[in-house]
Symmetry: C2
Subunit: 345 residues, 2 copies
Amino acid sequence: MNNNKIVTIYDLAKHLDLAPSTISRGLQNNPAVHPRTRKKIFAAAEEMGYRFNTFARNLRKQRTYTIGVIVPRLNSYFISGILAGIELELNASGYNMLISQSLELESNEAKYAQAMLNNRVDGLIVNLAANTSSLKHFEEYTRHHIPLVFVDRVFEDDDFNKVVINNKQAGYEITSHLIKQGCRRIVHLTGNLSRNVYQERKAGYLQALQDHDIRNNPELVLETDLTEEASIEAAAQILKMEPRPDALFVANDLSAVICMKAFKDAGLNIPGDIAIAGFNNEIVSRISDPMITTINYPGEEMGRTAARQLISLVEGKSPHELTNTIILKSKLIVRASTLKNKPKP
Amino acid sequence: MNNNKIVTIYDLAKHLDLAPSTISRGLQNNPAVHPRTRKKIFAAAEEMGYRFNTFARNLRKQRTYTIGVIVPRLNSYFISGILAGIELELNASGYNMLISQSLELESNEAKYAQAMLNNRVDGLIVNLAANTSSLKHFEEYTRHHIPLVFVDRVFEDDDFNKVVINNKQAGYEITSHLIKQGCRRIVHLTGNLSRNVYQERKAGYLQALQDHDIRNNPELVLETDLTEEASIEAAAQILKMEPRPDALFVANDLSAVICMKAFKDAGLNIPGDIAIAGFNNEIVSRISDPMITTINYPGEEMGRTAARQLISLVEGKSPHELTNTIILKSKLIVRASTLKNKPKP
DNA sequence: TTGTAGGCGTTATCAC
DNA sequence: GTGATAACGCCTACAA
């Protein structure tokens, strides 16, 4: 109706010959205003194209209904799932979502944590960068009692809220499965070991070896950044190992599929010559040939859980003092890429 | 240093026995402030743990330095790339990014467009939902002169800024390539045809058929939602076609790979029995066996371009009146999945 | 049921 | 170079 001028409650007040406070109350459905008055207010708001100013309200209320989210990368299938889960919960509860990507750098993470603080986010969800070595850039959140939840990539020995899976157990299960299939020389290809998720998967791998009396050979653990290039390189390195390993446990599906392709191109048979297991149950694990044994990793559910927990902290429904760790269930999914002993018909 | 109380410029002013306005100027590096004073101000700010309040500034400045982004889904590899590109540019220019996902529903899209307006975003980037049939929920942006850029999925006949690729040409190239490989009975599996991207790819497909004197058979065009399930179903349907098609052009890589897997499971040889081409050059197209012929689709670059264009509009560096369309280059990438005529040695 | 007045934290304008 | 003061738009005691 109106053109460009921004309409405020004062304009509505003048138009209706009422006080701004009455307009404010009416728009909030405050029962103190007469239904007739309220109706007039809404009609005028509609007619004049009124939009309320979130900033003014935030300034006044000292609340922003905005949650910050810092992730290492946006262009990752797994991260997308977490974000989707977070977004669903936040929007359902009327919160906005402010996103930054640290590009796996602690320095960016710290910078964005500060920026989010300036934006007065009501809470923050973080998936740590690969090289983050301290959480001191989050101390100000604690000091100001702004709730903080870490999801997936966390620090073990801290006093923060976290949503994780049991990576060690998952690593243990997948390695034990490989051993049960008769594999003895199992390579583990993993990411930055200063991050809990990779460190623990490796711990599970080592534990499984030990429990099955297989001597650990440090040369069989390859630490890379799990990018496409690094995976191709790692595959070449594995092909050159003497004697050739009979299994490969990779810390993520995409990298596992890339390795598998390299092995197939080199004429190897999967799983006959080498069994391959991944991690995350990404779609690529299902479309590869053979399909890849993996761990179902509930990314979206982790996002939802983290968001729910954060909201309940923000709204004071959970006590701030009690930090807690939520461990979601992960599950081994056995597929053809590791089935050396074909199930009997 | 300090504990929980939020520090404002008034606190700094009192502490330093200066006026709040001087503090404000000092913090903004206003040259009118004496260097010695400024130094004292920064020292006190640091010591007292001052953080400026973005909302108060926004309220005052009538600017938010926040850009809204509405996408159909967050958990999509292609969308992630666009978002990553947008985020890079926005952060580089000091803007925040507020994200919502429409879940492919026009109703959500409209709702979030309104919410972003309430949040006074300085501009908005949109990737349309599958079922969006009108742009009237964006009219208010035009009315208030809030810049708007559509990326990838757009309306053709509108008067808005857009960043796209030439989908028709890409569809034409890929279909012509299949024809040159000797294919005559080419199935086209696509998404919601009311969206420009799918509509145009199909137009390119039809044009190529016509230019090569191949009669169009409407039964060979399958419109689905391109989900994992729909793709599996479509593959089954194609397998039942009589006579069997000799090529399949799918509007996205993931769906193409899923179909390929189904065909291989049914004993078909790729590309011998049926050639397969995808779209987007996602990583799955490179790890499938055989690798998939596709169109390189610069998602991240589209995101960057959209963000750059939006920022230049927001900052008044481009005129608002001139809406424009930026068409990025896409490129046919030929791989084994369509090479029926092996290149001569 | 409605109105008045003050404040949320910052910046801009005008004085001094 | 610094200070006083009035906005920005909304919300909420408190008063009427």
